[in-house]
Amino acid sequence: MTTIGRILLVEDDPKDTELTMTALEEYNLGNEVVIAGDGEEALDYLYCRGPFEERSGENPAVLLLDLKLPKVDGLQVLATIKADDKLKMIPVVVLTSSREERDMVASYKLGVNAYVVKPVDFHEFVNAIKELGVFWAIINEPPPGSIRKK
C-alpha cells in the first residue's frame, strides 16, 4: 500500500474547490485533503492556531495555493511560508486562473515549487489536478515532519 501525503488546498471559490475535489476523488486522493478558504485560514492551519489549535503540528505534504484570495492573498501566504524556517520546506504549488507573467515571476522569485494555470477545458483540468495530486501526494518524498497516511 502506498502512503498518501496530506494536501492543503487553499481556494476561496467553492465551485473551484468542488471541481478540484471531484478530480482528486476520482483518484482516491480526496480523503487527505484539507481545505482553507482564504490565506488567513491557511496560515492558521500551518501555525496550528485558532480553529486548528488542537491539530498535531506536522506539515502537509503539499500546498495547492490559489493566488487571488480574500484577506491574505496567495503571494503573501507564499512569502510567509518561504520566510519561515519551519514551513519553508513544504512544497508549494500555485494553482491559478492567471496566465499573467508578473504573477509567475513573483511566485518563482518567492521560491514556489511549481506554477500551474488551471485549464478551462475540464478534461485538461482534471488531468492537471490528478497529475499534481499523484506526484506531490504519492510519488514525491515529502520533507521530514510531513503528515502521511499508509
Binding site: 465551485k15 473551484d16 471541481l19 487571488k68 486562473s97 499573467e100 488551471k118 478551462v120 477545458d121 475540464f122
Partner: protein, 496 residues
C-alpha cells in the same frame, strides 16, 4: 590759395630758408649803406642783428649761421675802419663777440619756439584724431539695432542711440537729460540698492528688466550694465545695452505651457495604461474562473446524467461546452493581444528565414496530410523582437494555410518584394479563398472577420495582433486579394 603763395611754396624749403638769410642780410646792408651815406652812424650793428634775428626766428639754425657770417663779413667790410677792407683790429673783437652771442641766444629762442610749436601741432592732431574716432564710434553705436544708452550716476541720460529710439520711441533729443527710471518706468527684479551695490563692486550687472515704451506698451529686455570710472577710479557713468526679449519670453512661456500639457497628458496616458493593465489582469483572473466552472459542471452533468437526457438535451449541452470553450479562446487571444501593446520589446538581429522555418513548424499540425507547396525565397535579417516577429509570422502563415485548405493544390509563397523608403518589404502569398477588397479596411480590426465561422474558424484577432506587432517595429502591413484566387499580405519593416 593766391598765385604768389603757390609760387613761393613751389620753391624747395632749404632754398627758401637760406634765401631768407641772404635776402634779410642784403636788405640790412642796403639800409645800412643808405643810412651811412646820410651820415647816420652807430645803427648798422643793430640792423644786422635784426636781420639775424628774423632769419633765426623763421628759418632755423643753419640759415641764421649763414646770416651771422654774411652780416659779420659785410659789417667788417663796410662799417669798420679801415672802410672797404676786411682788415680786423683788436677794437672790433667785442662787436663780433656780441654778434655771435646774440645769434646763439636768438637761435636758442627760436629752437624753443619751434619745439613748442611742434608740440602744439601734435596735440592738435591727436585731439582731431580722437574727435574723429569718437564720432565714428558714436555712429557705429547708432548703427546697431540693439538699444544702447549712457546715464550718469544720478540716472540722467547722456547718450541715447538709434536702437534705443527704435525700441522705446523717444528720439535722442527727447531722452537725453531725463532720468531713465522715470522715463521708462523700469521695474527691477531686485531692490535697486542691491543692483547698485553689485554694479559698484564688480563694475557690471546683467538682468531682465520690465520697461514701458513711449506709446505705453510694456517691454521685457535683457539688460547689461557696464560702469565707467574716471582716472581716479570714481564711477562717472553707466552704459546700458539691451535686447528686446518680449517675444522670446512669450515663446518660452508658450513652450512651457505646452510642456506642462504634455506632462499632464503623458501622466493621464500612464494612468490609463495602468487601468488597462489592471483590467487585463482582472479579466485574466476573474473571467476565466466562471468559464471553467461552466465547462467543468457541464462535463460532470454530461458524465452523470447523460442517460437521462434525450438527443436534443445532449446537443444543448454540447453547445454550452463549445461556447464556453470559444469564450475561453477569445479571452486568451484578447489578453495576449493586449500584452503585445504593453510588453517591452527586446530587440536583436533576427533571421527572418529562421523565423519562417519555426513558424512553419508551429503550423505543421494544420498542414499534416495536405499537399501544400511552399515557395520560400531568400529573406533578410531584421532588427526586432524575436518572439513578437515570430508571433506575427505564425499568424500570417497559419492564415495562409487555413484559407487555402479548400484548394486541391494549396500553394504558399514567401519572399521579398524589394525596398520601399529604406524599408524592406516581405510578402506572404496564398492561392486560397481570398477576400473582397471592399472590406479591406476591416481586415486588421480586433474581432473583425471576413468569413463565416461555419466556413473558417477563428477569433478575428490574429491580423490585429500582426498589425500591432508590425507597428511597434515601425513598419506597415497591408493586403491585396481577390475572391477565389488568393490573398497576399505585405509587411514593410525598417532595414537594420
Amino acid at each position: 590759395m593766391t598765385p604768389a603763395k603757390t609760387l613761393l611754396s613751389s620753391i624747395p624749403l632749404p632754398v627758401r630758408r637760406y634765401g631768407l638769410a641772404i635776402v634779410s642780410v642784403a636788405l640790412a646792408l642796403v639800409v645800412d649803406l643808405f643810412l651811412f651815406r646820410q651820415s647816420f652812424q652807430g645803427v648798422e650793428f643793430p640792423i644786422f642783428l635784426i636781420a639775424i634775428a628774423i632769419t633765426s626766428w623763421y628759418a632755423g639754425v643753419g640759415p641764421s649761421i649763414l646770416a651771422l657770417v654774411l652780416s659779420t663779413t659785410a659789417f667788417n667790410y663796410y662799417f669798420t675802419e679801415p672802410y672797404d677792407s676786411f682788415y680786423i683790429t683788436r677794437a672790433d673783437l667785442p662787436y663780433y663777440t656780441v654778434f655771435v652771442l646774440f645769434a646763439v641766444v636768438i637761435a636758442w629762442f627760436s629752437a624753443v619756439r619751434r619745439r613748442v610749436e611742434r608740440n602744439l601741432q601734435e596735440s592738435r592732431d591727436r585731439l582731431q584724431q580722437e574727435v574723429a574716432t569718437t564720432t565714428q564710434q558714436a555712429e557705429l553705436l547708432n548703427l546697431t539695432h540693439d538699444p544702447i544708452f549712457v546715464r550718469d550716476m544720478q540716472g540722467v541720460i547722456t547718450y541715447w542711440n538709434h536702437g534705443a529710439e527704435e525700441l522705446y520711441g523717444w528720439t535722442p533729443a527727447q531722452a537725453v537729460g531725463r532720468r531713465t527710471d522715470e522715463l521708462m518706468r523700469t521695474v527691477f527684479p531686485a531692490p535697486f540698492e542691491q543692483i547698485q551695490t553689485e554694479l559698484l563692486r564688480s563694475g557690471r550687472w546683467e538682468g531682465e528688466l520690465e520697461k514701458t515704451k513711449a506709446n505705453g506698451t510694456a517691454v521685457l529686455v535683457s539688460s547689461r550694465w557696464s560702469l565707467q570710472r574716471d582716472g581716479q577710479g570714481r564711477p562717472i557713468a553707466i552704459l546700458e545695452s539691451e535686447n528686446d526679449i518680449t517675444d522670446r519670453k512669450r515663446r518660452e512661456q508658450d513652450i512651457r505651457g505646452l510642456n506642462d500639457q504634455l506632462t499632464r497628458r503623458s501622466a493621464d496616458l500612464e494612468a490609463t495604461n495602468k487601468e488597462l493593465e489592471a483590467f487585463a489582469y482582472s479579466i485574466s483572473h476573474d473571467l476565466r474562473a466562471p468559464l471553467r466552472h461552466m465547462v467543468g459542471f457541464t462535463e460532470l452533468l454530461q458524465k452523470n446524467a447523460s442517460s437521462l437526457l434525450d438527443e436534443k438535451g445532449r446537443r444543448y449541452m454540447m453547445t454550452i461546452l463549445e461556447s464556453a470553450k470559444r469564450m475561453g479562446t477569445l479571452i486568451d487571444d484578447l489578453l495576449s493581444f493586449s500584452r503585445i501593446g504593453r510588453a517591452e520589446t527586446r530587440d536583436t538581429m533576427v533571421s527572418l528565414e529562421q523565423l519562417v522555418k519555426e513558424a512553419q513548424n508551429e503550423v505543421s499540425q494544420e498542414t499534416d496530410g495536405r499537399n501544400v507547396t511552399w515557395k520560400i525565397g531568400p529573406l533578410p535579417h531584421l532588427y526586432g523582437d524575436r518572439s513578437m516577429l515570430k508571433l506575427a509570422l505564425v499568424n500570417l502563415i497559419s492564415n495562409a494555410v487555413k484559407f487555402s485548405r479548400t484548394r486541391p493544390q494549396p500553394e504558399i509563397e514567401i519572399g521579398t518584394a524589394g525596398d520601399r523608403n529604406g524599408a524592406v518589404v516581405v510578402f506572404i502569398k496564398d492561392n486560397g479563398v481570398g477576400f473582397d477588397m471592399k472590406y479591406v479596411d476591416k481586415l486588421f480590426g480586433v474581432f473583425q472577420r471576413l468569413h463565416r465561422a461555419s466556413e473558417f474558424e477563428g477569433t478575428g484577432i490574429g491580423l490585429a495582433t500582426v498589425q500591432r506587432i508590425i507597428h511597434r517595429h515601425g513598419g506597415k502591413v497591408w493586403a491585396e486579394a481577390q475572391v477565389g484566387t488568393g490573398a497576399t499580405f505585405y509587411l514593410s519593416l525598417p532595414k537594420p
